[in-house]
Subunit: 399 residues, 2 copies
């Protein structure tokens, strides 16, 4: 059976060139980077080399990169680290309804600690309106955090405009670029964010490595206290092999970025065209301003989970909503925030393409997908009109 | 040149059998454990298998193991997670002066949040007195955290007795077993702790994997918020290869524990005997009740850093104080807390042995070490009597 991996927002395979770069640090070069003898200094050099590679990916200084264990850790660190560092200046922060759970739940933690949080609405494409950001700012606002690109709907947010607004008002601005970094070009100097989160496994690097860009001179309260690793800003013995892998993956992502984008965009457009031919299926997220390998839909009268299972039985691996909540079986808050009715939001399906997908993968999907939908609709009470009036309301997703 | 790695508290080499177990998850089995299709469920199964292996190492239930990215993260999670979860019952916590920086600095963070923290004194062997623990308890005390075994001086603390006291008073008890777990037998049911921290790279597992044992039914506030990983208690895409490695390393540690202990203890005793023949050198930590592979000393009239460099030049890799602060160049707070004068504490040297060390390694060290000391004393102004009176005071370390 053919196997088509269309779930690159959940995780990517590790590039064999990245694994090759990691192997020495999984074998002989196992030293602790804080040790002053040779195996230690070798590990330390490897980490600093990786820091340079990750910095280069977003055009920052190496000293502005702090390694973490994941994108989620970077997001927790950014939100809580800045909110706490600046709490004497104000206790109001702004996030959007597009954010990942690591931001949303960190924001709710801060609410319990006495912070006020504004959760910004979005339009039908999942776009945050910079004017709405501006109007949400109060004298108490110290931090704004807006996702760079949504892993659920692919929409790329107007980060530069929001950065400008934050800068004008002297508010710190963080962007969760976990789905974006390594997949679309990011120049931090143009983007203007003060903090930016990344995860290596989103661009063919290893799991267990993430990074937070923190603009030079910005004070941040650590999330993990302990030793003097990462200049005292993130403790714990460094995961040297994973950090080395993140560096190598960043280097490759930078070198191959344009070719990868061109490749997945071409496939993605064919996929959207093919899948859209099914009746009562709607593209979610922005039609153009979206991640190049990202195609997300809501399929009427069908549960996302059922689609995933039938597709998986054909060797097609896709997602329904965010990977981090895919077993939670609730309609995605992101889709609901865009005004998609909850019944329709249940029929969410997300295909995300990677550099190793081929045209054949797309042809296979386009051939199999309509059959899966047909079969599911045959057994769906919703497809036969049950409950439609109750669930309905205006459907504002675009076709 | 001979190479002797005597710094197993800093980090261990990865066991090749552990790396072999990890490799499939660094290659084909790269799925996200939350995905419902086959590559995802395979990763999920691998994690649950590892959870069982780690649980078995300490005789807990698998559901009581939460994977983290490091021992430091586990310590931060335990201390702050319990302090916050119980803050309505009281805001006093007790730790010892033997703790790792990840506990000490987390405690200081809690102080800033309005918690009161008692830092318990220790005796000349670095032992915490259970009676002193008892006397430090107030109506406000919600949490006690005492290190299981010190990585700096090897002393094993009276964890069972302290557990008993905590249980009687209905106070939660955490132990940082990062240096102990996998190296000495731990039966959590006998030990009685409510929480226990571990790190895989301390027992030939990979960097980037740690775990926190949390007794069933105990509420803990997450350190890293986000998705539903680890039952919603620790978010972030799981580092599957590292977790699998931690499981395999735990399994091997359990199987080979007695043989490993016997091996390193025999070598360690020879090392202590040989090294102690040098003049004005003092064993630090408890003479008997210490980690089996651990030998730590203070050498009079010499700086630890200088010893490390000269030993490293001979291919002998050792530590001076805690790995996490070895570049901080301050006299170790742990040694000072034991009453060792600061001048003498500067001459700290720690040799920690592992399963792959041999008798030849020990012979080599015993042959080379006295020469290193001799050479350093020839150039040391302290050895010529300079400043001795100012630095001195009663030296209470045992010979």
């Amino acid at each position: 059976m053919m196997k088509c991996y269309f779930d690159h927002v959940a995780t990517n395979p590790l590039d064999t060139r990245v694994l090759d770069a990691m192997m020495p640090y999984l074998k002989d070069d196992f030293g602790n980077p804080l040790s002053i003898y040779e195996p230690g200094s070798k590990a330390k050099e490897a980490i600093e080399n990786a820091r340079g590679q990750v910095a280069s990916l977003i055009n920052s200084k190496p000293s502005e990169i702090i390694f973490t264990s994941s994108g989620a850790e970077a997001n927790n660190f950014a939100l809580r680290g800045i909110a706490l560092a600046r709490q004497n200046e104000g206790k109001h922060i702004i996030v959007s309804r597009m954010e990942h759970h690591s931001i949303l739940n960190s924001a709710r933690f801060l609410e319990k600690m006495g912070f006020a949080v504004t959760f910004l609405p979005v339009d039908k494409h999942g776009m945050v309106d910079p004017d709405v950001v501006k109007k949400s700012i109060t004298k108490e606002t110290t931090l704004i955090s807006i996702i760079h690109a949504s892993s659920e709907i692919g929409t790329i947010e107007p980060i530069e405009e929001i950065s400008e607004i934050a800068k004008e008002k002297k508010i710190i601005f963080h962007t969760d670029a976990v789905a974006a970094a390594g997949n679309i070009p990011i120049n931090i100097k143009e983007l203007g964010a003060d903090l930016l989160s990344m995860a290596a496994h989103q661009f063919y690097g290893p799991k267990g490595a993430g990074a937070l860009y923190v603009r030079e001179g910005l004070r941040i309260v650590p999330l993990i206290y302990g030793g003097i690793q990462e200049n005292g800003r993130r403790a714990g013995t460094e995961n040297v092999p994973a950090i080395v892998g993140m560096g190598k993956a960043a280097e490759l992502a930078k070198e191959e970025m344009n070719a990868r984008i061109e490749h997945v965009r071409t496939l993605r457009d064919r996929l959207i065209k093919g899948v859209s031919s099914v009746e009562n299926i709607y593209l979610t997220g922005h039609p153009d301003n979206r991640l190049p390998g990202h195609a997300s839909f809501c399929v009427e009268f069908i549960e996302g989970e059922a689609m995933l299972l039938l597709l998986a039985a054909k060797g097609i691996y896709a997602a329904s909503g965010s990977a981090c909540s895919s077993k939670a079986l609730k309609a995605s808050p992101v889709l609901l925030a865009m005004g998609i009715p909850s019944g329709l939001a249940q029929g969410s399906i997300v295909f995300t393409l990677g550099k190793d997908n081929s045209g054949d993968d797309i042809e296979y999907l386009i051939a199999e997908f309509p059959q899966v939908i047909k079969r599911l609709r045959e057994i769906s009470p919703y497809a036969k009109g049950w409950g439609i009036k109750g669930e309905g309301g205006e459907c504002i997703v675009q076709k």
